[in-house]
């Protein structure tokens, strides 16, 4: 039988994958993909806790996380396009201009 801990373990594995992507990637678009993975992992945990404690609060928080992720993508992609027009690249090492 599938319990709460099964879902939490899957969510933790997905979150670790996303965190690994954030630490490993140098391309800004790929960093955005990794943050999406992390947000989805947290949503799974919220929905599972909401189901097993018979409480709707977890689902509410998941809704607001989805709304925040959508607005993050809208603003973030706008900034990415401006950066690409200015520098011609999305690599973080090329964009580092404040090296001391």
């Amino acid at each position: 039988m599938i319990g709460l801990s099964h879902y939490l373990i899957v969510s933790a594995i997905l979150f670790s994958i996303g965190l690994m992507g954030v630490l490993r990637r140098r391309n800004l678009l790929m960093l955005f993909f990794a943050t999406e993975v992390m947000l989805n992992a947290v949503n799974i945990a919220f929905a599972a806790i909401s189901h097993y404690y018979n409480d709707l609060t977890g689902q509410m928080f998941a809704f607001f996380i989805i709304a925040i992720a959508a607005s993050e993508v809208a603003v973030g992609l706008g900034i990415l396009i401006v950066l690409y027009k200015k520098h011609g690249s999305l690599d973080l090492d090329d964009l580092a201009t404040m090296r001391g």
């Binding site: 599938i2 993975v37 949503n43 018979n54 689902q59 509410m60 925040i68 396009i81």
Partner: protein, 189 residues
Amino acid sequence: MYEAIAFYLFSALTIGLFLITVMSKNVLYAMTSLAAGMVLISGFFFILGADFLGVVQLIVYVGAVMALYSFAMMFFDATRDIKEKNTPASLVFLLGGLSALVLVLMFAGPIHSEAIQALYPMHEGVGNAQDVGIVLFTKYLVPFEVAAVMLLVAMIAGIILAGKKMDQSLTKDTSVDDEDEILKQKDAK
């Protein structure tokens, strides 16, 4: 039984697809596998009885967010492989695992799970969408409105950031400048 099969199938597929997203060198592969993983995550929500959340996940993530990504990829060269100077994988595995462990201990340690009581319990015989609607429009009305304003602000910001100089081509900057000068000369005359 079926729930267990679906759970293990979905979790294996999701983990594999998200690993492709994180590891792949090609933007197109990464985006496609991310979209497929999000469809499967909505499957998790349907198993858990959160029907409305699953539908919202499908519409917002797979419909809107991935469409936005694929539109944005028209600006970047999507077919070329990305050359990155990656940090060594073993270090990243160690750091990522350690920080995830620390986070879990930090947030899960103080929780006394027997003492948790349902604030807004689900009702028997009422659909998930009705339950969600009642709680969302009574207890969470103010955060809902704030989220609506935040989405409006994000939309305006996206339009202003991306729409600036949209009439100029990224690759043919010089010819467009020439046309501008010709137009200015015409205006001057």
